[in-house]
């Protein structure tokens, strides 16, 4: 499309945290969490100076070093501040090219500059009128960029989101490896990428393609689990991958209908995932309840009790099924399809994180709940995301969860660690 990228001098858009905002923490049984705090924001903003210079040259080529009247009109979604900044810069550039600014009645040329935009670019249009001649029109364009905005809500029990990674390609899951230096394993539809933290930035260390003979199903899902005897296992519909344990890593993938681990360590099950759909088939190992199988479901989470475990299944039928050894009942909730249990030192020691979009207007949220009996009690404020949540899994170890959301404004997939802080 149009336009040329330019050099980094001026920026008129809000800075966009591209990625690399990461807080990595230990997740062992100790109650406190934080280990390392890294904050590095990379900026991506539309850069205008080169195009302003180019437009100024085009105007000056038409008018020559003359007395002109200049008017700049903002017809775009640029802010007043940005528009004023562009106007100031244009004046400076034009003055440097020998143009003088006077009132229209004293000018030899009237220059009307419009700050406009189209689908792909901001367009700067200059219409130059000199006497009775046909107006001359010159233009330049600057590719658009979009700002990122996230919302943060304080809460009673504080549910926090800590950005791990962000990228244009879909993210199915992210695993955090507590090594020195820290690593993350990013599971994408077609590859697994290992990043290490170097000089406060995530640097790609290795990438492994995921061979698969069958086309992936729509709403592709996947899970990566960090292991103790080797680095990780990754599960995708009909495919399982395992890494070796030492660097440089090797990863082997195979077609497999092996069940995926579900639940929160140490309370886990294995569930068979449909190789051509986006849900678990309902066959779980070992069985739950009296029948041993449950209705097809998207996600599951355990609530350990003294003598049994209550399991929650977010069913494909849109309802949450609550199952223990003897009973099954349906919960009335406004939950979405993704739930995850986390094990903390707060309150009962086990909370359920559930996605929701209860008002239907804003973006998706995640909220923490406890189950004193059989009904959920919210224990945190809803935590808002900048779009739809595409994945929510408990992390290996169970002290936190990883959520992935898709930001429609930036088009990026963003992975967050979700952690609970007690007693706020």
């Amino acid at each position: 499309m149009w336009g040329t990228m330019s050099t980094n001098i001026a920026s008129y858009n809000s800075r966009v945290p591209e990625m690399f905002t990461a807080w990595l923490s230990c997740w062992r049984r100790i109650s406190c969490v934080a280990c390392i705090a890294i904050l590095a924001a990379a900026a991506s903003a539309a850069d205008w100076s080169e195009q302003e210079r180019l437009l100024s040259q085009k105007i000056a080529a038409t008018t020559g070093p003359a007395a002109v009247s200049l008017e700049v009109v903002n017809r775009s979604s640029l802010s007043k501040t940005d528009a004023a900044s562009i106007q100031g810069s244009l004046r400076t550039q034009l003055a440097a090219l020998g143009l003088r600014f006077v009132k229209p009645e004293q000018s030899s040329a009237v220059v009307d500059v419009s700050l406009s935009e189209n689908l792909a670019s901001y367009v700067l249009v200059a219409q130059i009128r000199q006497g009775q001649n046909e107006p001359a029109v010159v233009m330049v364009s600057v590719p658009r960029s979009e700002p990122l905005n996230t919302v943060y809500e304080p809460a009673v029990m504080l549910l926090r989101k800590i950005q791990l990674w962000s990228q244009d390609e879909p993210i199915l899951d992210v695993g955090v490896v507590d090594t020195s230096p820290p690593h993350i394993v990013v599971l994408e539809p077609n590859r697994i990428v290992l990043y290490s933290l170097q000089a406060a930035r995530w640097q790609q260390e290795q990438a492994f393609m995921i061979p698969h003979t069958r086309w992936w199903p729509r709403d592709l899902r996947g899970r990566v689990l960090i292991r103790k005897d080797h680095l990780f296992d990754a599960y995708l519909p009909g495919t399982t991958c395992s890494s070796t344990g030492s660097s440089p890593l090797a990863v082997s993938c195979r077609e497999s209908d092996d069940p995926w681990p579900i639940g929160t360590e140490p309370v886990t099950l294995k569930g068979f995932f449909s190789p051509t759909r986006n849900f678990f088939t309902g066959i779980v190992v070992p069985g739950v309840g009296r029948s041993g199988t449950v209705a097809t479901f998207y996600t599951a989470a355990p609530i350990p009790r003294d003598r049994y475990t209550l399991w929650l299944f977010a069913g494909v039928d849109g309802r949450v099924h609550e199952i223990d050894d003897a009973n099954e009942q349906l919960l009335t909730t406004n939950w979405g399809s993704d739930i995850a249990g986390v094990r903390t030192s707060c309150s009962s020691g086990f909370q359920i994180l559930a996605t929701s979009n209860s008002d239907g207007v804003s973006s998706d949220t995640v909220r923490a709940y406890e189950f004193p009996n059989r009904d959920p009690i919210p224990v945190s404020q809803p935590l808002e995301f900048s779009g739809s949540i595409t994945s929510l899994w408990p992390e290996s170890g169970g002290a936190s969860a990883v959520a992935v959301s898709h930001n429609p404004r930036t088009g990026k997939y963003e992975a967050f660690r979700l952690a609970i802080t007690c007693g706020q």
Partner: protein, 456 residues
């Protein structure tokens, strides 16, 4: 956004939709169900390259369900891989080599091959020299075309396998029943290369436009057309409406080139006489944007350089200065009630300026046309409009905004066309429809659409 009117409408529609509880993004999509669609008219053929009307939203949408193109355009107009995964340009855009995606199959189970792709493209583009190799196709054009990829993304360049009079596609759905002009039944292709669609099937029926809203209300359809003049009322009634950017051009097109300087002035006077604002407010019920250019601003970024204001006094003066005032006839699509209303109003505006203009059936000096802008690539849209309207083909001299401006300005200076409005395409949706996506180019993307289980 203060630039465009349509996003505000789209947002308000979306809010209504959301407030009705129709969308819950936190719920994962459910497989299964049938989408029932009511369309205004069924195309005479399903073959996208043989006579399908590229100016028909129905043809374009149906084609996308059954067939794929080598590349597609994203909502920001960027070229995306589809059946082709990589491409190379040579000789300044005159030779193009596109490598095909491996493992793709047609709905009859046969593999997508370079030979079939080349054959399909030859059918749609007689002037191109197309050859195939092991895994790619090579396209040689009569002259360089920097916008070739955007052109390959058009529906008419869908890849079709023709065998024994039957059409096969690689698209997300395939045909199970087709009665020309009446109904079309489609089912999901299980091993679709981009992931099987959530829907099991789509049932498409031809329903009179005026009855489509009733079909929606009675639950007979999940997806219906909303006429431009009905859109505001539907929104006021709290209906769930999807609105595209304004991508349908309504314009007057003269059948002949300008005959003289005076003829040019008369055409300019007609353009000045037309009160677009009144037509928009009254006949279009506030729908659409008055147009002074072929492309709307969201595609060209400079429409404000061209006047769309009525200036009756100037029109009268110009007409009064001319010695001869020929009588023109104005034609329109007799099956389009909105076109008739607008044409009648234009006749009145013209008479106010002293011009002799009267409605006519059949051949006419001027015709009121409605042309869909088919691509998010402004060059491809401009060239398509020129082709449909019978205007000289614009010369694609470069990719900069000034190049586009010059080409569009040159087209308008022929005085063959008077742009009037840019109209959106509106659809009504039932509450059960989830993940509805109408792309920026107006095309439905039904691959991710699903039907909520409680209403299946």
């Amino acid at each position: 956004m203060k630039l465009f009117g349509w996003p505000l409408r789209a947002v308000s529609s979306l809010l209504l939709l959301l407030q009705s509880g129709a969308l819950s993004a936190a719920t994962r999509p459910q497989y299964g169900g049938t989408l029932r669609v009511a369309i205004r008219s069924a195309p005479a053929t399903l073959d996208p390259s043989e006579g399908a009307d590229e100016n028909s939203p129905e043809s374009r949408n149906l084609s996308r369900l059954m067939f794929d193109t080598l590349v597609t355009l994203s909502d920001s107009g960027k070229v995306q891989p589809a059946l082709a995964v990589t491409w190379q340009e040579q000789s300044g855009g005159q030779r193009w080599q596109l490598s095909l995606r491996r493992g793709v199959k047609f709905d009859d189970g046969s593999p997508l091959t370079p030979d079939i792709v080349a054959s399909s493209l030859r059918t749609a583009n007689l002037g191109w020299n197309i050859n195939s190799s092991d895994e790619s196709v090579l396209i040689e054009l009569p002259q360089p075309n920097p916008a070739l990829l955007a052109e390959l993304a058009l529906e008419r360049n869908s890849i079709v396998k023709r065998s024994s009079g039957t059409l096969h596609g690689t698209g997300p759905f395939h045909v199970t029943d087709w009665r020309a002009g009446q109904e079309l039944s489609l089912v999901a292709t299980e091993d679709y290369w981009d992931g099987r669609a959530y829907l099991d099937s789509i049932q498409i029926d031809v329903v009179n436009p005026r009855d489509q809203m009733l079909s929606l209300e009675l639950g007979k359809a999940n997806l219906v057309n909303i006429l431009p003049e009905q859109a505001r009322k539907a929104v006021m009634e709290g209906r769930r409406i999807s609105t595209s950017p304004p991508l349908e051009l309504m314009a007057l097109v003269f059948s002949r080139d300008r005959q003289s300087v005076d003829d040019g002035k008369l055409r300019e006077s007609l353009a000045l006489a037309i009160d677009r604002i009144s037509i928009k407010n009254v006949l279009l019920q506030g729908e659409g944007e008055p147009a002074g250019t072929i492309l709307p601003r969201w595609l060209n970024g400079y429409d404000f350089l061209f006047s769309k204001e009525a200036d009756l006094a100037r029109a009268r003066q110009q007409v009064s200065e001319l010695r001869s005032r020929p009588s023109w006839t104005l034609g329109y699509d007799s099956g389009d009630p909105l076109a008739r209303l607008v044409a009648e109003r234009i006749v009145l505006n013209a008479r106010d300026a002293g011009l002799n203009l009267q409605l006519a059936a059949g051949m006419s000096d001027v015709r009121l046309v409605r042309i869909i802008l088919p691509s998010l690539d402004p060059w491809v849209s401009l060239m398509t409009v020129a082709k449909i309207a019978g205007l000289p083909a614009p010369k694609h001299a470069g990719d900069g905004p000034e190049d586009l401006y010059r080409a569009e300005n040159q087209l308008l200076r022929t005085d063959r066309m008077i742009p009037l409005f840019h109209l959106p395409l509106n659809y009504g949706l039932s509450p059960a429809v989830r993940n509805w996506v109408q792309r920026q180019d107006g095309i439905w993307d039904l691959r991710n659409l699903w039907i909520a289980s409680e209403t299946r």
